[in-house]
């Protein structure tokens, strides 16, 4: 299995190397869909220049990356292209290993449940075989590396790639069952972009499941483990933040990074939902609506945790998608990360209802972004409403895609336990309606 992975990596490196040398690189790195105010390479370079001059990089309201990233590039600035290629490769390999491991776990669980006779008798066609699961890790790596979104964000040297790597390592550590590494990487991811904080819940659920600790309020082990994991997480977060403080000798980065993420002062258009809304709003309402908008990311975590208690990895996927849709400065690089997981759920394909239309919508929107941007900014014949309409469609498409997967997942679980051919009490064929 290693050979195809190496081949995929080689192809990905070639594509990136060619694009770095082409004239497209400059064009792509200017695109607002790829580079947000948080992670644009231009801003990192600006921050570095300030740092070299002995000024705080956060003075000037241009640079909003974290201190660790700027120190990373302080040493590696000459190899920036290489760094971004390597981070992409690392992400792909981490996802590959994680998915491989997860598939083994999944298969074992399925075997166990079959042996325990938990499944309905007529669901043979829903049972997954090692044959079809064999290529899934490779497909995941392929989906991540050759996804145009990933390629573009790598070419634009958006530091989003680094966030993705950290999250991928977090997923790998979680699935391998290492609570310590998982907590450390989760803390790093939170430190980088704040929102991965919500991934705490699925990670904890997964680790508990691995330790065979039931999620019950009265269970002492449960509380012990939760406190332990939370302690590890908060401890490493504290260490990282203090490290950043000692690097720069100031707390400037807290308002400049996290304040910037939470209060959304920069309304440059992007693929997200925030910019247009807050550009149109009267100033004195904005605090309230910032809260409303930000709460979206965190709001779904608890209901999802209750519903998907038994399936933490799917929960993690949904949560990643929610983050990339509702975060304040989303870029296509964030979307690429959760899209990499789609092959993992390929067995849900028969339950998906709108996959064709939704993928068409997403593709069309992606193509229309630059067209409408051109009409708005360069030709001056369209206006921001056109661009926002596409942004809105794009996000609605993503939300529908995720809910489609969500319902498909629940539907499959239901069928597995209740049998594929449901009958009503009077013996006629029944339809499953999910509400």
């Amino acid at each position: 299995m290693a050979a195809p992975l190496v081949l995929v990596l080689l192809v990905a490196v070639t594509v990136r190397a060619v694009l770095y040398r082409s004239s497209l690189a400059g064009l792509i790195s200017e695109r607002v869909e790829v580079a947000s105010p948080l992670n644009a390479w231009k801003r990192v370079v600006e921050g570095l220049a300030l740092l070299d001059l002995g000024v705080s990089p956060y003075s000037g309201d241009v640079f909003h990356e974290t201190p660790l990233v700027i120190y990373l590039f302080h040493f590696l600035i000459d190899y920036a292209e290489l760094v971004f290629m390597i981070t992409d490769m690392l992400t792909a390999v981490a996802l590959y290993l994680a998915v491989q491991d997860y598939n083994k776990v999944l298969f074992k669980k399925q075997k166990l449940l079959i042996e325990l006779d938990k499944y309905a008798p007529d669901v043979a066609e829903l049972i997954r075989t090692p044959m079809e699961m064999h290529y899934i890790p490779l497909k995941v790596a392929l989906f991540y590396l050759l996804n145009p979104y990933t390629v573009m964000s790598c070419i634009a040297k958006s530091t989003c790639a680094i966030n993705n790597t950290v999250i991928a390592f977090f997923i790998l550590a979680t699935i391998k069952g290492s609570a310590f590494l998982s907590a450390v990487f989760l803390a790093l991811a939170t430190y980088q972009s704040l929102y991965p904080l919500t991934l705490f819940a699925p990670a904890l659920l997964y680790l508990l499941q691995r330790q065979f600790i039931p999620v019950k309020m009265k269970n002492k082990d449960f509380w012990f483990y939760t406190v332990q994991y939370a302690g590890l997480y908060l401890g490493s977060l504290l260490v990282i933040i203090c490290l950043s403080f000692f690097l720069l000798n100031s707390w400037d980065f807290i308002p400049s990074v996290y304040g910037f993420i939470l209060s959304v002062p920069d309304l440059t258009p992007n693929v997200g939902l925030f910019w247009y809304f807050f550009a149109e709003m009267f100033e004195h309402f904005s605090l309230f609506f910032v809260c409303v908008f930000q709460i979206n990311v965190f709001f779904y975590t608890i209901p999802l945790a209750v519903k998907l208690k038994e399936h933490p990895v799917f929960f993690m996927f949904v949560q990643l998608a929610i983050i990339s849709i509702f975060k304040s400065y989303p870029t296509v690089g964030d979307i690429a990360l959760y899209m990499a997981f789609l092959p993992l759920w390929s067995h849900l394909y028969r339950f998906l209802r709108n996959i064709f239309i939704l993928s068409c919508v997403l593709i069309v929107c992606s193509v229309l972004f630059p067209v409408l941007w051109h009409l708005w900014i360069y030709a001056g014949s369209a206006n921001s409403n056109f661009y926002y309409a596409i942004t809105l469609t794009f996000n609605v498409g993503q939300i529908l895609l995720i809910s489609d997967y969500f319902y498909a997942f629940l539907q499959r679980e239901y069928y597995l336990t209740h049998g594929l051919y449901l009958t009503r009490k009077d013996g006629t064929e029944a339809m499953l309606v999910l509400k």
């Binding site: 064709f356 229309l368 067209v371």
Partner: protein, 570 residues
């Protein structure tokens, strides 16, 4: 008119220098003849004497291949412009009046009128925006050089000297073309590069002043009929509309104004026409109209933005807005989407029930239960490689072609384009050798599904940028694209498919155009025009950045080849 600051009753025109315009024109003609080109020194001196700040800008451009129609290859020239500084403002905004200095006796009167207007404007105190009077050499090439230098960018490979004098952001521009001492009517050209249009308010402004001074004005050379609700009048409007669609779809600037639009400057070209009508207007009347327009533009508080940017004009006083024509186009695209959806349903039915004989050729299905995208990769790659060849080879290979064949460079380029285009038709036979085990029905269905969606996306995107181009391509390609399949009468389908390729559309477009301007041409002439149009398309792309040729070569043509592959799927 939607713009509030351009209400009609606020200005009174008093331009009286008609005679002076004619004397300037005669003087200019004399100096032009003597200099054998643009009389730079004389223009500078005259403008200086009028009290303008005069600058010149020299430029040079080597064309990618010789332009046979205008007989030019290495272009060198000078633009001369004078700035009238506004007495009441700080040079932050400006207006442009540009006149191309063309070869022969063309446009002398336009230069004369421009100078007379400059001398008149100089004496007025109400200007709040600087006015730039520009004489550009080598029409569009000079215009592009001037605009690039003015905005300090270099998007084409033009070399030009830097620019010393500027006058703030240009708000609007009028390009004037006038070749006779008296005129019978004005013609207005709106279509710019890539089919971009100026704000409708500028068109309305022009129309309002023509009405005010009782000037006849036409669009696409067609006069508006007084009765508008009779059948012949509808047909007349339809002809005007079709002419506009064809011109806009070509993506060529229909006058010097066309290049301004790319820089977010609203601009139109006004042409004086001298025909056999009885009633003629002298320079005074023409000058008054322009004076009025400039005074109105001078009153602007913001860039023109109130009115429509997307419209089609069946006559000067009526327009079709985007809200009316886009749904119609949407329905055209819907055909493709619905057909694709139909194919998708068929494909997924095959998936669920692999034993279904109707969708798959029997035993093949059992061996390969899951659809694989792998067999689609070779046709996609090969079609796009052909597209890339179509785009790059003609220009790069022209020298080799002239060495080996007795043709000139521009002929070589055009013939290479046609050769590669036609060679693409032989592709299905070659791609099949690369394909392995793709003989199933599912193969062509997926390929067709893919190409239909691809086509729909392309047409949708181009219709937003250049509606007419998208519409022309959609009307021709969509029905056949939706219908094509490897079963059924192959010869008929092949003929239909060939008839709707973009090249054939161009050929029909040329005949239709000449039919509409009531100047029918023979088949041979049509062919000549066709070759010319290809060369012009390439030149437009390389000189000004028109997207029509690359769009067709890199996207539409490969997509059409995919459909061609579907037809010959084995």
């Amino acid at each position: 008119m939607s713009e509030n600051s351009m209400g009609l009753t606020m200005v009174e025109e008093q331009f009286v220098y008609g005679e002076r315009a004619l004397s300037y024109a005669r003087e200019f003609a004399g100096h032009k003849k003597k200099a054998g080109g643009m009389p730079v020194a004389w223009l500078e001196k005259t403008m200086w004497n009028l009290g303008l700040e005069v600058y010149k800008q020299s430029f040079a451009r080597t064309l990618p291949f010789p332009d046979e129609l205008r007989e030019r290859y290495m272009v060198k020239g000078t633009n001369v412009y004078g700035i009238l500084r506004a007495p009441r403002a700080a040079s932050t905004e400006s207006l442009v009046l540009s006149v191309p200095c063309s070869q022969g006796q063309q446009n002398n009167q336009a230069v004369g009128l421009m100078l007379a207007l400059a001398s008149y404007f100089r004496g007025q105190i109400y200007w709040a925006k600087d006015i730039i009077f520009l004489v550009n050499e080598h029409d569009l090439v000079g215009m592009e050089a001037w605009l690039e230098a003015y905005h300090n960018v270099n998007v084409t490979e033009i070399q030009s000297s830097g620019m010393l004098g500027r006058a703030g952001a240009i708000q609007a521009a009028v390009s004037l073309e006038l070749s006779s001492d008296v005129i019978t009517s004005f013609d207005l050209a709106v279509e710019g590069l890539n089919g971009q249009l100026p704000n409708l308010d500028l068109v309305n402004l022009f129309y309002a002043f023509c009405q005010k001074s009782n000037l006849l004005c036409t669009i696409q050379g067609k006069l508006q009929r007084s009765d508008w609700d009779s059948l012949p009048a509808y047909l007349h409007s339809l002809q005007t509309l079709l002419l506009m669609v064809l011109k806009q779809g070509s993506g060529r600037p229909q006058g010097d104004h066309g290049l301004f639009l790319r820089y977010h400057i609203e601009a139109v070209t006004v042409r004086g026409i001298n025909s056999f009508r009885q009633y003629k207007y002298d320079m005074g009347a023409v000058g008054k109209t322009l004076e009025g327009m400039f005074r109105k533009l001078n009153n602007l508080l913001e860039r023109l933005h109130q009115s429509y940017f997307f419209y089609l004009l069946p006559s000067l006083s009526r327009f079709v807005s985007i809200g009316v024509y886009m749904p119609a186009f949407g329905f055209l695209i819907l055909i493709l989407v619905l057909k694709a959806l139909d194919l998708w349903m068929k494909l997924s039915r095959c998936d669920v029930d692999p034993a279904d004989q109707s969708c798959d050729g029997g035993p093949m299905a059992a061996e390969e239960p899951r659809p694989s995208l792998l067999p689609l990769v070779p046709p996609l790659l090969i079609c796009h490689a052909t597209g890339l060849a179509l785009y790059f080879v003609p220009i790069l290979g022209q020298h080799m072609a002239t060495q080996h064949f007795p043709v000139s460079e521009s002929e070589a380029v055009v013939l290479t384009v046609i050769a590669i285009y036609v060679a693409g038709l032989a592709l299905p036979h070659n791609t099949h050798r690369v394909l392995t085990g793709a003989g199933s029905d599912r193969g062509w269905m997926m390929l067709k599904l893919l190409s239909l969606l691809y086509l729909a996306i392309q047409l949708g995107c181009i219709a937003l940028i250049n509606f007419s181009l998208g519409f022309l391509l959609a009307v021709t390609m969509v029905p056949v694209a939706a219908a094509v399949q490897p079963t059924g009468p192959k010869a008929l389908q092949a003929v239909l498919l060939v008839l709707v390729t973009p090249a054939a559309t161009l050929l029909f477009g040329i005949f239709l155009y000449h039919e509409l301007i009531e100047y029918p041409i023979s088949v041979l002439e049509g062919w000549q025009r066709f070759l010319q149009a290809i060369a012009e398309g390439l030149l437009d792309h390389h000189l000004y950045g028109s997207v029509v040729f690359p769009f067709v070569a890199l996207f539409v043509y490969p997509c059409w080849l995919l459909l061609w592959n579907v037809l010959f799927w084995k």
